[in-house]
Symmetry: C2
Subunit: 479 residues, 2 copies
């Protein structure tokens, strides 16, 4: 992957930058020793690494504003960072950039059960948002696999989803308002604890904009009542097509499970070795979970079990206890860890119309043979958000490049069947040059003109989202 | 309400404009005789009227594009119009503008039950979208009161809601993609039949942008399975505060009715005279409806009835037949017609945090006495979207002005309690000068800069959304 060239003007003024930053922040919050900045050289897309010029860890919105004002003034690019769990290189630094980490901003500012929201600083982890309200019977719905570590800031940047988003929607459906600092240091409030806002929907625009329009320091999040109960069913099938058809039929029947998760044989095998969840050895496995009172669960599962039986499953188990439920989920939840244990992998994130699942799975199988790399599939099937894991060997010359090429072909396939390049991981650096497969230049021009509005100097989260040549041209034009 | 001054350059070139439009559209689709353009002089906010320069009714996206290209070339403002049911003056023409009506664009282009969407031209009415799929067991969820007449184009422009949006969300939650024509004639596709899109969320930005960023000619809409059944409960209370508290408690209990509708005594009386639905004569009435299978309905209503009983209702009736259900809804559905029969009224559209309902209702009552004008309240209580109807006499000098002043005070009150100026009607001309109460100038500048991106000449739907002085300045600067 091509990396942008650093700006020599910025590099030469590092000492001045650090001095100015230390005037507005405690010294301990400004990290610039190369041995320490190295910890921030990559995110979850570990194939790419680049140490930043410096790292700043502000403790308040005002400190974020002061940091941005200095960088804006000195034309220093800034890479906002949540917990660094991006799988698309969304928080990958450039040599001439300052990492602005929100890790110290992790307070709960307000909980309001009457109006069902919580207001938090965005460095707070996803799971600890639920942690702050669960004793009172509430939860925050979006649940990315990385929820133990990932920050709300990153969830907003990438419009993250999760296993339970089929029923509850993704981040944008659960975000009510933000406090955001623009690149020039201006602090603005967008949305709030009410349903809608007049004027243009800036909140929707900010959500999913990958940290390129501003740094979000506070978020007002919708919280929901915990359902009375939940029950998963495990289904094994002897072909990907049949499993895909079963998903399609469940959705068509009008029942709305909270989750429909899919795993294929390579993934099942790896997780069995790793976690021993007792999954059947079959081509495709589904975990379908429904929520509600016992009566509601029984009624929904009756429909779902009937559909599953119609597809001749090789295994079909309805959980009958909390322990069984935990075991059914155990394999799925450890899938990424298990795959990482046996292989280097690249996790893709295409989204397709649900009815295209069987076709796309078949094509991925064929392409796997063409490229000579194995693929394990584990994903949110109910909403068409696929996560093919391409397995490669990082120590074998050329393997990463073949993997990237294969990945690009899979994502192009998603676009061909009327899907798109990403469901929840974002474009980052990973897919920036594929944007031209989805958008024509006029469409990209509109998007880049919107970045001009918020960040005319093109300093915020550089070299992401748009094709590198376009980003570079824009930044040079702004100088 | 101040009206913008027409551009004398545009008025003087009317003949040339008509000639050019008739070169690209059938003559019957270009209306310019003042006796005919008069039919388009206002929308649902009938207190304001202004005949347009001409009216164009294209039959295809290409004709929309050709029309816009000519107007763009000649610097003629264009007012897009769905069915003209806006209550905020969203489709009010200016003297120098062309109305672009989408009424002829009303085809269903595609229905896809596997992927649960329908693609329609946007002149199609809201109710006829459901009409196209209901025999197959599906429906389109957003249901504005005007659904028999209002067009999907207007629903998208205003991000319309409706009684059932508490459960199913508003337009933005049910819109998957659009085909949009920019002011310069460029046709673009945004979103599609998949979950999310990479890059910035332009679809969210377009939805609710009040026809100021482009003319949407096609929409891909999420359709849902019709629930097995639905059952309403009618509740009467002897004070607004108690009814408000009951709404709050239902939401807090975690049950999710599809609708919670509120009517106060003036509104109950008017609808009783008009429709005779058999409502109790009380201070405040709620209609709470739940959906699902019989078992699900019973379970939800058990919780809801228990909460209602705890608030000492003066009346509490659970429907036991389709006829009773229809009767319970009859009054609510004829409320606007009933009010119009006895009075001129202005229908407001503020949104507030649900817990503020009792306080805001009390303050509106007090303000009603101060201004000497009666108010009837009928609104979607479950999501905090209020619709106070201020009653006035259009033939009494000064009454309209007092009504406008009173309305502005109510909307400012909504902002004060952390709500906002509009839930679903939009800003239009009605609330444009109130925008400064919600936003500071820097926030408005960002929004206006986004309009610059899509419509640099500021020709699309002029004099709406932003304070008139700002719009005027922007348009003059662009010349």
């Amino acid at each position: 992957m091509e990396m942008p060239s650093p700006d020599p003007k910025v590099l030469s003024r590092k000492a001045e930058l650090i001095e100015r930053l230390e005037q507005v922040l405690p010294k301990a919050s400004v990290i610039h020793d190369p041995s320490e900045t190295r910890a921030y050289e990559c995110d979850g897309l570990t194939a790419y690494k680049c140490p930043p010029l410096a790292v700043v860890l502000p403790s308040s919105t005002e400190e974020v504003s002061a940091t941005l004002r200095i960088c804006h003034d000195m034309n220093v690019p800034v890479v906002p960072r949540g917990s660094g769990t991006s799988l698309a290189g969304g928080a990958l630094p450039t040599e001439d950039s300052v990492i602005l980490g929100v890790a110290k901003l992790n307070d709960v500012l307000e909980t309001d059960y009457d109006n069902r929201f919580i207001r938090v600083q965005t460095g707070r982890t996803n799971l600890s948002v639920t942690g702050a309200v669960e004793e009172d019977g509430f939860f925050y719905a979006p649940d990315p696999s990385s929820q133990l570590a990932c920050a709300i800031a990153g969830n907003i940047a990438m419009n993250s989803g999760g296993a339970h988003c089929l029923k509850y929607g993704v981040t944008t459906n659960n975000l009510m308002g933000v406090k955001m600092v623009q690149m020039d240091g201006t602090i603005m409030d967008i949305g709030g604890a009410h349903l809608d806002a007049e004027g243009y929907d800036l909140l929707g625009l900010i959500c999913g904009s990958e940290g390129q329009l501003g740094v979000v320091t506070e978020a007002t999040l919708r919280i929901l009542h915990k359902p009375e109960g939940a029950r998963p069913v495990l289904m094994g099938f002897d072909s990907a097509e049949v499993a895909g058809q079963c998903v399609s039929d469940i959705i068509k029947a009008g029942v709305l499970p909270v989750a429909i998760e899919y795993m294929d044989r390579p993934c099942i095998r790896a997780t069995e070795d790793f976690a021993g969840a007792g999954y059947p050895d079959c081509e495709a496995l589904l975990i379908v979970e429904v929520e509600g009172s016992d009566a509601e669960i029984d009624e929904q599962l009756e429909t779902i079990m009937k559909i599953a039986r119609g597809h001749n499953p090789v295994d079909l188990r309805e959980s009958s206890s909390p322990e069984e439920s935990a075991k059914i989920w155990l394999g799925r939840k450890s899938a990424f860890g298990a795959m990482g244990k046996i292989n280097d992998y690249m996790c893709l994130d295409g989204t397709i119309p649900i009815s295209q699942l069987p076709y796309v799975l078949k094509r991925i199988g064929e392409m796997s043979k063409e490229f000579g790399l194995d693929v394990a599939n584990v994903f949110h099937a109910g909403d068409g958000n696929m996560h093919p894991l391409i397995l490669f060997d990082a120590n074998k010359p050329g393997d990463l490049e073949t993997c990237e090429e294969f990945g690009a072909e899979i994502l192009k396939l998603c676009v061909e069947v009327d899907g798109c390049l990403t469901g929840e991981h974002g474009v980052g650096i990973e897919k920036r040059d594929l944007m031209l497969h989805q958008y024509d230049p006029a469409d990209l021009e509109i998007q880049m003109a919107i970045k001009d509005v918020f960040d005319p100097k093109w300093l915020l989260n550089p070299a992401k989202v748009f094709p590198l040549a376009s980003s570079d041209a824009r930044r040079i034009a702004a100088e």
